[in-house]
Every structure is written in C-alpha cells, then in structure tokens.
C-alpha cells in the first residue's frame, strides 16, 4: 500500500488535485465558521453593503482606492457653551429664551460618498411647544423636528424621549427640507443624490443639531450621541451581489452544496452502475442482454433536455409535493447518468470473468459470490475510483447548468445560480462584477479539473496492470 501512496505522491497532477479538493472540502466544512450569512438570497441577509460592492482588498487598485467600507460611528459633540454631558452618551443642552444652540458632531470621512446615510439618536425635548430642532450635515438642512409638524418638518412628542432616525433611503419632500429644496424633477432621485451631497469626498464634515427656543423662558433638551451608519462600496472578501448579499457567503455555501450534491449523486451513480454492470457482466446470458438493453436505452436519452423537462414537470405541476427540489435534482441526475458507468463496469467485468485467475479460483472451489467480492470487485477498484472522480464534475456541471438556466435551485446559493443571476446584471457600470462571476466560474473549473486528475491518477495507480508492471 505504501507503494501506491508513493506512486500517487510522485504525480504533480495528483498533488494539484488533492490540494484543490482539500481546499474546497475545507471551505465547505467550515462554512458556518467562515461566514455568518448562511443564505444571502434571503431578504434579511441582503444589503450587508451596497449592491456591487467590490471586495475590500480590491481597494489597493487605484480605481477602487477611495471606495468606503461599511461605516458605523457614534458621534461625540464638540464642547460648546450650554452643552453639558450628563453621562457618557447623553448631553444636556440649555437654550436661553429666544436663543439658539448648535451642537456640532465632527465626522472624519476618508472616502468617496457612501451608499446611504443613517443617523439615529434619542431626543428629549422640553414640555413646551415653543422650539424647533434642525439637523444639518455639510451645511445642508437635512431634517427638521418640530412640535407643530408642517411638512417637511417631522413631529416630536413633548417632554418624552423621541427615537429619531434619519435614513437617506426614505427621504421625500414631506420629511426632509433637503428634498424640498431640490428641483422637482430631481426629487425622486434624492436618496441617491443625498450621500453625494453631504459626504462628497474625503474630508472633515459636521453633523450639526441646531436647537431653537422660540419661547420666553430657557428650555432644556436632552440629546443622545447620534449613531452614524452607512453601507460602503467595499465589502468583505468577495464583495456583494446586486442585492448587497455577501458573495463570499454565497461562494462558500455554494461550494458546500455543490460538493455535497456531487458526492451523493456520484455515489448513487456508481452504486447503480456497479450493480447493473456487475450483474450484466458476471451473470451474463439473458440478464446481460436485458440489462444491456436497458442501459442502452438510458444512454441514448438526451440528458439535459430530459432533465429540464422532468424538473419543470415535477416542479411546476407539483406532481410530487413536499419533495425538496435539491433532492429531486439529485435523484434525476443520478438516474440519468449511470449508464456510462454501468457500461464500463460491465466491460471490465466481462474481461475479468474470463481471466485465468478467476477460473483458477473456481477450480479451488470458491463460490460465485466469493469470486465476485474477493477477486472481481477488488480488481475493479481502480476503475471505480476513476469513475467516481469523473462523475463528480459531470454532476456539478449538470446541476450548475440547470441552476444557470434558472430551472434548478433558486432559493439558496449554488455556483450555478450565482453565475445565472450574475449574467443578468453584468454591465460596464459595475465592472462586470468580476468578484461575483469569477469565484463560482473558477470554482467549477478548478474542482472539475481536480477531480479529473484525481480519477486519472487513481486509475493509473490502482489498476492491476500497473501493479504487474506492464
């Protein structure tokens, strides 16, 4: 056995295949550790960054250099008269009668504009209704809070804590003075324009919360330190897709599913092929004739079209209810793919059956089953391994093809449907989303090549002819 391993390790292609297969196997097994998003196709797991965000490491390239990451800040005010800290997160502001106090929060911004801007804070206004609160960012009036809400002002409850959230994605003429100030035709695009207006380029920006007292007595405001959040255009290891879902998570879980499906389907294919091939080859006669005819029948069916038709029928008409689509695809692929394996095993069994050593075993008094399992099946091992390795890429390709066409799995990521979704959205504007297309594409190619090399090496090393030194 040592000789076999030595022989395998002396092949560069085998080393390559083992490294690649182990790499993908590790990714597949460690998926839950590697990423916290197990299905980026679910709405709740989308928008982890801006759509088409490039991978974080891609910012080393000049064209992506200024792209912002996801930013999460808690802003702290510049100290000013009338502003006194209550505790680490609240400040108390006393505004004199008829006066105005501006609380400034500096934001150090090192990037180009983000995808969106979200600000949230808690405001406890005085119990009187004689006040006005305005939010400015980069000297643009973005929000107005008033006890008497005349649009675009937003109402606040008097004397009670108000949770205020400003989101650039929900601004409209009735809740933001900024939108109101835009020309009418630009208003629908306000949420896209907003980040560019308030954070146009790297620099120092200020969020100013302006508290106005329109009454006759001093008023006291409590204000929590605002939280600033924005989604960036550079995210994670492999960026995001069109919905802002993590491509890395998709890739990892895609690898997991593809490997799982390929292995289970290959084992099924080998199982069916081995049983039919052995029966046909070893029993011979009428059994051989029948099984061979059956194999030929399945062999001549055009696989992919039938696969498409079957899946469409089962899926659309709901003939089989409560069956997982992945299981359905797995079964259909397996039942359409075994004939090649069966033919090869039958041929090899026929050849082995007529070898002298099999007759010698018969002469020793061995029964048919003992000969089958002790001499024929072990001598088929090389071919079985090779067949297993050749079937894996076949299954991956078939399944990916289906997913690519949108006929297979769409509920969770697979390499095939990643490519399928990506092709719908590639354009010059998003740089053809190379971070989204390349990983599954390269993954399919690498894995197929690796399994092919693995199979070839196994066939070469394990087949008995090599042992004999021929």
């Amino acid at each position: 056995m040592n000789k076999v391993i030595r022989d395998l390790l002396s092949r560069k292609t085998f080393i390559f295949s083992i490294v690649v297969i182990l790499f993908f196997a590790a990714i597949a097994l460690l998926a839950p550790v590697l990423t916290s998003y197990n299905n980026p196709y679910q709405v709740s797991q989308q928008f982890v960054a801006a759509p088409y965000a490039v991978p974080a490491w891609a910012t080393i390239f000049p064209q992506y250099h200024d792209l912002p990451p996801d930013v999460r800040l808690t802003l702290t005010p510049v100290s000013a008269s009338g502003v006194t800290p209550v505790n680490s997160s609240f400040v108390k502001i006393t505004v004199p009668a008829g006066g105005e106090v501006n609380v400034s929060y500096p934001i150090r911004w090192n990037w180009s504009s983000p995808y969106n801007v979200i600000l949230s804070f808690i405001l406890v206004p005085p119990a009187t209704s004689d006040f006005n609160v305005n939010l400015y960012m980069n000297n643009i009036n973005i929000m107005e809070l008033s006890p008497v809400p005349i649009p675009p002002a937003v109402s606040v409850t008097l004397g009670k804590p108000n949770s205020i959230t400003f989101s650039s994605q929900t601004i409209n003429p009735s809740n933001s003075p900024y939108v109101n100030s835009l020309p009418f035709q630009d208003q629908p695009l306000a949420s896209l324009e907003f980040p560019k207006a308030v954070l146009p380029r790297p620099g120092m920006y200020y969020l100013v919360i302006s508290l106005q007292n329109t009454g006759n007595s001093p008023e006291t405001f409590l204000l929590s330190n605002p939280h600033y959040t924005s989604l960036g255009y550079a995210y994670g290891r492999l960026g995001t897709d069109d919905n802002g879902g993590s491509v890395f998570s998709e890739f990892v879980y895609g690898a997991r599913f593809d490997l799982y499906l390929a292995l289970v389907a290959s084992v099924l294919i080998i199982g069916i092929g081995l049983i039919i091939g052995l029966l046909a080859g070893y029993v011979g006669g009428f059994t051989d004739l029948t099984l061979n005819a059956l194999t030929d029948f399945f062999l001549l069916i055009p696989g992919l079209p039938l696969l498409i038709v079957l899946i469409s029928i089962f899926d659309l008409t709901g003939v089989i209810v409560n069956v997982n689509k992945a299981v359905l695809i797995l079964l259909i692929i397996s039942f359409l793919s075994w004939p090649g394996t069966a033919k090869i095993i039958r041929g090899q069994t026929l050849s082995l059956r007529s070898r002298t050593f099999v007759e010698a075993s018969r002469a020793l008094g061995e029964g048919k089953l003992r000969i089958l399992f002790r001499h024929i099946v072990p001598n088929l091992m090389g071919i079985l391994f090779a067949q297993l390795a050749y079937d894996v890429p076949g299954v991956i390709l078939a399944e990916s093809g289906l997913d690519f066409l949108g006929l297979g799995i769409i509920g969770f990521p697979t390499w095939g449907n990643m490519l399928g979704f990506a092709t719908n959205d590639l354009s010059f504007a998003n740089g053809f989303a190379w971070w989204w297309v390349l990983p599954p594409g390269i993954g399919i190619i690498l894995l197929s090549t690796a399994f092919y090399y693995f199979g070839t090496a196994m066939l070469d090393v394990l087949s008995p002819y090599k042992l004999r030194g021929e």
Binding site: F357, E359, A360, A363, L364
Partner: protein, 313 residues
C-alpha cells in the same frame, strides 16, 4: 480413479464449429503421471478443463471414483474441488496479482475451512512453500507476484494447488513458460509428488520430450481426437502413428546427424482441406491411402499397453 468417457466439446463462433474434443476417452489411475501431448489447438487444454468440470461438455461424462462430476452437488462438489487441482500454463495470468503470495496460497484453505486457526493456516502455507522450493518461505510469503520471476511464480501456483493436499492434479503446460534451466526442477516436483504423496497427475504439454522425463503413460491428441496412447516407453520407442513420429522427430537433439536413422518422416504441406469424414490427419500424412479419405480409423490395440488410430496397423 478419474476417467473421461466419450467427451465432446464444440465451440461455436458464428457459423464455424470448432470440435475441440470429439469423442475422447482418457483415464488416469492412482499414482500415475499421464501425459497429453499434441500441437496447439489439438484440444489438450480443453480436455484438462473438462476433466475438472471447468468446461461443460456437449456430451460424455467424467467419472471420479465412479461418480459423474457434472452432477456433483454441495459437499461432494466441494470435496471434488479440494481433491482435484489445476496448474496453468501462464502463472502471471493464473494468480490474482493484487494478493500476496501468502494469501494466494492460503485462499484454498480458507475456502474449504481446513485450518482451525491462523496459526495452523500459517504453518500449512509455510510448509507448502518449502515443499515447492520457495525458501526462505517467510520472505516469499510476503512478496507480491510482480516481484517474482516466472519460475518462482509457477512454484507459487503449484503450492496453491498442493496446499489442499489433492489426489489429482491437471498440469496444463506447467513448464512451457519457464526457462530450460529451471524446467527440470519444476518437473522433479511433480515426480516427487507422485512418488511421495501418491498424487496422480495429468500433464498437458506440446513438448513430447518433457513427457519422456516424467510420464508413465502418454495420450497423443490431434484435432480433438486421441490418435495414439500407451505407456511412455512404448510410445516413445515405437511410435506408430505418422503424427506421433513427426512429433518425436521434431524434438531438437544435440546431434541431428543420426536423426534420419531414427525415422524418416516428412510432413506433407497441406494440399487439400479436410473433407469432413476421413482421418483428420490425411491432408498432411505422407502415408495417406484412399481409405484414409473415406473413413476415420478407431483406436485399436497393437499390444496391451499401446493403442493407435491408424489404418496402417
């Protein structure tokens, strides 16, 4: 003890029927080495395989201690398999090359559940390896077939047959793949088996000189028929059938100048195809007569231990 009666085996390949055995009678007695000699395609190997029920005949029967071997079932069949072994021409083909020598030899023991435990199995295997001259047996037991030479591997094949302590062995050209220098060694094993263990052997070969060395009786076969048989001395000293004479005169001898004085046999070029009813040998026979063309001769005894199928006698 084992006897083939009127065995017929025909192989069909599309329209052509090849009569590998066409009414052959052979018998092998206890403690006897019987030689089967003939050219390629004369049906020798088929005869050996049929005798051991590895090939079903079209008709005829093989009697083993009076029982028809084709009808043996269960325990009796197993016992028949244990007592009757075969050794093949090409040892590389005849063993499963994935297995170690030890496993190859022990296979039969395991099939028949002979040893009580691993220790006994190991003892029997090692003893047998020593018997066939594979020493040091520990090292040979651990090696793989591809590490052995043809002669060593043939000894392994012989050991595999011997380990079951058989009473009859078919040896199908056991030395034809071997070097001249080791042939005698392997042949001596067979002689020793007969003398020490009383094993009967059917030795199949195309080399009649080999039989002169080991055999007690000889059957000469030609195209599926036995054309001459008798004791080795009788057949070799006084070959009667023209084909037997041709076989003997084809044996290379150190000084060929005296050969013509032995026999002056010339084999004719085959002038016409066999017509299907006469003697099989007449197209090549230098003594062919008109009657040879019309009718096949039957085996008839010229003496108590010498039979020939030829109209000349």
């Amino acid at each position: 003890m084992i006897e083939g009666k009127d065995l017929r085996v025909y192989f069909k390949s599309r329209d052509i029927v090849v009569k590998a055995l066409d009414g052959v009678n052979v018998s092998v007695k206890d403690r006897e080495i019987v030689g089967i000699v003939g050219e390629s395609g004369s049906g020798k190997t088929t005869l050996g395989r049929t005798i051991l029920n590895l090939q079903k005949p079209l008709s005829g029967e093989v009697l083993w201690n009076g029982k028809n071997v084709f009808k043996l079932k269960g325990k009796e069949e197993k016992e028949f398999r244990r007592q009757n072994q075969i050794i093949y021409q090409n040892p590389y083909e005849a063993v499963d090359i994935r297995l170690k020598v030890y496993d190859i030899v022990a296979e039969g023991l395991r099939v028949h559940n002979i040893p009580k435990d691993k220790e006994e199995e190991s003892k029997i295997v090692m003893e047998t390896l020593r018997d066939v001259g594979l020493t040091p047996e520990d090292e040979y037991a651990k090696s793989l077939p591809n590490q052995l030479s043809g002669g060593q591997l043939q000894r392994v094949a012989i050991a595999r047959a011997l380990v079951l302590n058989p009473s009859f062995i078919v040896a199908d050209e056991p030395v034809s793949m071997l070097d001249m220098s080791i042939r005698a060694g392997v042949l001596d094993i067979f002689k020793r088996l007969r003398d020490e263990r009383g094993i009967s052997i059917m030795m199949i070969t195309h080399d009649i000189s080999t039989l002169g060395y080991v055999a007690d009786r000889i059957y000469v076969m030609y195209q599926g028929k036995v054309i001459e048989h008798g004791s080795t001395d009788a057949v070799l000293d006084k070959p009667l059938h023209p084909y037997t004479q041709a076989l003997i005169s084809a044996v290379p001898i150190p000084d060929p100048s005296g050969r013509t004085s032995l026999f002056s046999i010339k084999v004719k070029e085959e002038m016409e195809p066999y017509n299907g009813k006469g003697c099989r040998y007449y197209p090549r026979c230098p003594f062919a007569m008109a009657s040879c063309r019309e009718k096949e001769p039957n085996l008839s005894g010229v003496s108590s231990d010498h039979y020939v199928a030829c109209f000349l006698y």
